[in-house]
Amino acid sequence: MSTEPEPDLDARGLKCPLPVIRLARLARELPSGTTLLALADDPAAEADIPAWARMRGHTVTLEQRGGHTAYVVVLG
């Protein structure tokens, strides 16, 4: 029905700092240049995922989708 790609991480329902921890675990195994799609609905993640990305040299774009937010992270 949807052409939406499967998220690499579905952190919906998780509270901070868990979304960032799960994302960091995933990112650790992957080479730089990899793109990850993550979903989260914790309001704190909207500040925390970009802040984590800045501290780790990744880039991130956010897209608000009603009940949750989609994060596209390109690993640095």
Binding site: V20, R25, R28, P43, A47, D48
Partner: protein, 413 residues
């Protein structure tokens, strides 16, 4: 000694009447040093002089200052003295200054008076993304399409941002901005922001609830708001409306506090607030230098812990406030772990069950909101051993963060 005698009498009287609430307080107090380990002085233990003033005023100034009898006249006299003293501390005139139940009340009243007086000129209220929730709520109430003015990574509002916001959109009623941020400490360029307001003929309310008493009052403002708890007084809002400012409240005409409040303040609290403020002004230069060095020490120690983000302007800031965030850890756990080591700090994190939204200040600055620790130093005159408490924090912090990370299995992320 005066304090102990008062306290003893008070306790005995209550016990004779079979009251039990005093037992509650006595049981909860563990007898440790007053203010021991407290590095969260947003609501501070009282300054010793403010405490003595409060106790004395309980006997001399309990009455309704509007009564014409002896007790009422004495209360009125003490209230007038409190106003004169506090106005002098703020560099204002007594007839410009009013007392309010809290800093938040004073902010709302100050803004309401500016808005109502200019309601035929403009309706919008401009405030920034790092200003207090009460101001953001008022701005949203004035205009449903309100967007807070954005700030930079240090939490500072650029005058140009204000200038653009004034020029774009419907006419503005008032601008409300902080002197410095109470969470991250960053000072705002109040003089330049005031110039932008003057050019556009807009009134400026300066929120000094986190700063006044700890730093000099701003030289330029139309309305100024402070809170006595910032200077180790009881929580009490103060509002200065400069003579000549267009100010009119929408409510029915009131008598107390230059028509700004429906009721007079409780005189003992007003007198204690004025005393605390006077004491703070008296020691300010030394106090500020000492607090500044302690905050530098904390900033350095926190930055040395791996993956800790120290937030706000390191130089142009309040002397006594610092905040930092530790990656992967939740703020409540750090607060708990430090508390068990006798160190009392606050947190702006939302990982606690009591709050759903993280600190809007940290979010607006693009900082980590989890793992947050906020330090607000008490005045040295309130907590003479605060330097030792700061050393304890600096000593314990690396171990606390490492232990929490290892428990979460995130030590290698």
């Amino acid at each position: 000694m005066v304090v102990l005698r008062h306290r003893g009498t008070f306790l005995r009287r209550l016990l004779e009447h079979g009251q039990t609430l005093v037992h509650e307080a006595e049981l909860l107090w563990d007898g440790s040093r007053y203010g021991a380990g407290v590095l969260d002085a947003t609501r501070s233990p009282l300054h010793p002089s403010a405490r003595e003033t409060l106790l004395a005023a309980l006997e001399a100034g309990w009455a309704d200052p509007r009564r014409l009898h002896r007790e009422g006249r004495r209360a009125r006299h003490l209230l007038d003295r409190a106003r004169e003293s506090l106005a002098a501390s703020l560099g204002a005139r007594p007839d410009e200054m009013s007392f309010h139940p809290s800093g938040a009340h004073a902010l709302r009243t100050g803004l309401a008076g500016l808005r109502h007086a200019r309601r035929r000129v403009g309706t919008r209220v401009l405030t920034s993304a790092v200003d207090q929730a009460v101001l953001l709520n008022e701005a949203h109430d004035a205009d449903a399409g309100f967007r807070p003015l954005s700030v930079d990574r240090l939490g500072r509002l650029a005058p140009e941002t204000l200038r653009l916001a004034v020029a774009q959109g419907p006419p503005v009623a008032a601008v409300a901005l902080q002197q410095a941020n109470g969470e991250v400490g960053t000072s705002q360029p109040v003089e330049d922001l005031f110039s932008v307001c003057r050019e556009a003929r807009l009134p400026l309310l300066v929120d000094g609830t986190a700063s006044l008493g700890r730093v000099d009052p701003p030289g330029t403002y139309d309305v100024l708001v402070g809170d006595a708890s910032t200077v180790a007084g009881p929580p009490l809002g103060v509002l200065v409306v400069r003579t000549g400012t267009r100010f009119d409240l929408p409510d029915p005409r009131w008598e107390p506090e230059h028509g700004r409040e429906p009721a007079d303040p409780w005189v003992p609290v007003a007198l204690a607030a004025a005393e605390a403020w006077q004491q703070a002004v008296h020691v300010r230069p030394d106090e500020s230098t000492s607090a500044r060095a302690l905050v530098d020490r904390i900033r350095g120690a926190a930055a040395a812990v791996p993956d800790v983000d120290v937030v706000g302007d390191p130089v142009d800031r309040l002397p006594h406030v610092v905040t930092f965030s530790a990656l992967y850890v939740d703020g409540e756990s750090i607060v708990d772990a430090l508390d068990r080591r006798g160190i009392v700090v606050a947190s702006g994190s939302a990982c606690t069950s009591s709050r759903l939204e993280p600190s809007h200040v940290l979010a607006a600055m693009g900082s980590l909101t989890h793992g947050n620790v906020r330090v607000t130093l008490p005045l040295e005159s309130v907590s003479p051993r605060r330097a030792e408490d700061v050393e304890a924090l600096c000593r314990e912090l690396p171990g606390v963060v490492a232990e929490l990370r290892s428990r979460l299995g995130v030590g290698d992320l």
